[in-house]
Amino acid sequence: MKSLITNLRSILGTDNVLTAYEDRYCYAYDATALGDKLYLPDIVVLPSSKEQVGEILKLANESNVPVIARGAGTNLAGSCIPVNGGIIVHLSRMNQILEIDKNNLLCRVQPGIAVENLQQEVEEAGLYFPPDPSNMKVSTVGGSIAQSSGGPRCFKYGTTKDYVLGLEVVLADGSIINTGGKTVKNVTGYNLTQLFVGSEGTLGIVTEATLKLIPKPETKKVLLAYFDSIDNAANAVTGIISAKIMPATLELMDKYTMETIEKFYPTGLRTDMEASLVIEVDGLKESVEIQAGQIEDICKGFNACDIRVSRDQKESDDIWFARRSAFGAVAKLGPNVITEDAVVPRDKIPEMVREIRRISEKYNITACIMGHAGDGNIHPNFSLDLRNKEEVERFEKAVDELFDAALKLGGTLSGEHGIGMTKSKYLKDALDERSIELMKSLKQVFDPKGILNPGKIF
């Protein structure tokens, strides 16, 4: 390890190789609630170029030392946790936008740029990068690619995977490859680009991404519709979609979520209602007006008790403020909050919500149910105290049952957070044996020594 540190220092400079215990202590976590367990990395490095990342991986591969790439450390599946120690490659210094190409509707970025910063820059050019993970103020493009992140708008626009045209990736042995390119159409050989998307840093480290952009929608409008039952809210979602309307978002909040938001961030949500939908429509001004009217009618047809339609940007922001405060509100409810990420076919949402209610009551765990109803991606936010061993045991059983329920309803383990270390034990329930074998063989081809983010996915 000593000679590895010396070599890393000569490549990166002493200041960019951290080995003090206290430094490593601050890279032993990401946003995943892990309780008391401590997974210390041995070294933290902060590279500033692809060449440096290449050198780091070459050295690590020669010394058989694990390497874990890290963006903002905001993922919720433990994907940045150094379970076997090793080197954390913190990409915070590689955070530049290299190019915004208006003619080809694309941009080239370094992995450490925060998603929201990228969005702001491209929107100034009249363009749009739709993926909007809830932590996008800090979560990075590199992390979004590694976890194939989504967000509310992905119902209409698709997730990160739908916007990656090409990648520059450093492989386990330190060699650098370029996949895809600057064209939207590309069937030249296997689609390696998409293989890296969602691979959670187990196949390589992305050092540059070419991303597709779209024209920025001219205008948007937000509706907040209340329902007397989750079933009616979910049926309204199906109603909207079957009427061939594609809102940008279809967000669901249950009664307890609304009560919790009102408790900590009062915005005037109607807590006497069982469920609400936050629906955003965007596009040309005329079509937005028409669609908002149609959605209002459909919601009324499913017994919507009260519908608020934003008349200006401020009213839109107010409605979104309520929805975006949900995580913070649950965070204030108890010492720890854990967000799960099950996904089911969208017509199974009422059943899934009922299952989550049943399971959380059975194990006496506080759950606020919210999520992206449009694509069946439900995020129950559990409030608990991880210092309470007995509560943790109950919670673990509840999560087992939760994923079991999602799979039985034809859904799967993760919509947008990834598998990481927290869900790997369920993988065999979600995929067939042969698929897992194939994935493992692929991993073997890319990373024969298994140095890249070990202990994740499988």
Partner: protein
């Protein structure tokens, strides 16, 4: 005053969502997890649960906080990092003592003799040809410029005191002005302006011989010195005082903490005084301010929000209102006007490289706003603004709104 252990539940509550990274100026220029509140909470939680020792490294990371409170606005769990880090620095002070540099600063701020000597030396420097000479040298010798420019911009005075005749009927309110060390000993321009503006508007101003407000000591975790300074200052304020006015954003923030640090009768007094301690901009925005109609200043100004004014005292509309009232001033907002200037008291001395990088970004935003001058509400921010501007080779005067008002009154 709360101890670190009193915050253990708050510290544990950090969900590690990492949102603090998006607003932390220190993280922006370092990219280090240890620079941001999430990292610090993890270390402090380790200390409180007995998993790690309070080492020198940890005290170094605790110094990597500007105390700007930007992350508090943003934290989903509502954790007040500024207070917690100060409590941690206090524990560090008790366990490991204080660095030589910080001790030197606090001791000097605590000694009126030293401060008066400094004032005397500076008055010779300012009022002789010396300041012009150093300007000249700095322009010839490039590496000296960054220091000399910052130094000279701190001491050079925009406004000299002149007794102005009141344009309003004499008020019966008892007004005490708390100038703070910079205005008292280093640069009297703002103090002159406050006096002139208040007198012109019919207020008589009392200026007792106050000590340092105590913010440097509080910030370093030296609660004993802080408490002594609080006691001394409170003793100089009569019960029938109507307002204690401050223009220094840091001196204005301290009154809330006097209620924490003191006990018994003094605590009660501090609580009674707290609502009377008002920032000068807020005070002036609340009165029928005299605005001469026959003169104007012709100046494009952009305004920088001091952290201690906006996030500690919720004063950010009023300084802008005053600027807009001055005929001829055109106020242009800069990007991230409320982001820390990078100086933050002793931070710029303990972490000079990081401080300069933060200041440079501030200066770039100032330049992008295409203003002729920068206005701000704190003498300490002048350091950050100047050390940023010098890096971009721009030379822009830095004013407090009250100085521009005084300037207007002088040309009337």
């Amino acid at each position: 005053m709360k101890q670190l252990k009193d915050y253990s539940e708050d510290i544990y509550k950090c969900t590690k969502c990492g949102l603090c990274q998006s607003v932390c100026p220190v993280f922006e220029v370092t990219g280090l997890e240890t620079a941001v509140s999430r990292g610090k909470f993890t270390l402090l939680n380790g200390i409180l649960t007995g998993k790690i020792k309070f080492s020198k490294n940890i005290s170094k990371y605790l110094d990597l906080c500007l105390g700007c409170k930007a992350c508090f606005d943003f934290c989903p769990s509502g954790i007040n990092a500024e207070e917690i880090i100060i409590a941690a620095r206090n524990l560090n002070f008790n366990l490991n003592g204080i660095s030589f540099l910080k001790k030197l600063i606090i001791t000097n701020f605590d000694s009126k003799l030293n401060l008066n000597l400094l004032k005397f030396a500076l008055s010779i420097y300012k009022n002789s040809e010396l300041i012009k000479l150093t300007d000249l040298i700095a322009n010839k010798i490039h590496f000296l410029k960054q220091y000399v420019y910052v130094f000279n911009s701190q001491v050079r005075e925009h406004i000299q005191y002149k007794k102005l005749l009141p344009s309003k009927p004499q008020s019966k309110q008892k007004i005490v002005y708390f100038p703070g060390c910079i205005n008292n000993y280093i640069n009297q321009s703002v103090k002159n302006s406050v006096k002139m503006v208040l007198e012109k508007n019919g207020f008589e101003v009392l200026i007792p011989d106050f000590s340092c407000c105590g913010m440097p000591a509080r910030s370093a975790g030296d609660f004993n010195t802080f408490k002594k300074q609080a006691e001394k200052n409170l003793a100089l304020i009569d019960d029938d005082t109507d307002f204690i006015l401050t223009d220094c954003a840091s001196c204005g923030s301290v009154w809330e903490y006097y209620t924490d640090i003191l006990d018994g009768d003094l605590k009660e007094k501090a609580q009674k005084i707290l609502p009377k301690a008002v920032n000068i901009n807020k005070f002036l925005a609340g009165i029928d301010l005299d605005i001469p109609k026959n003169v104007k200043l012709d100046l494009n100004v952009t305004y920088h929000d001091p952290c201690h004014l906006k996030r500690f005292q919720n004063v950010y509309i009023e300084p802008r209102e005053i600027l807009k009232k001055i005929p001829g001033i055109n106020l242009t907002e800069m990007k991230d006007a409320d982001k820390c200037c990078g100086a933050s008291g002793t931070f710029c001395i303990v972490n000079p490289d990081i401080s300069r990088k933060i200041s440079r970004r501030k200066a770039e935003n100032i330049l992008a706003a295409k203003a002729d001058a920068v206005a701000t509400g704190c003498p300490s921010c002048k350091i950050g603004l100047a050390q940023g501007l010098v890096q971009t080779d721009a030379d822009k005067p830095i004013y407090q709104p009250v100085e521009l008002l005084a300037k207007l009154y002088l040309i009337e």
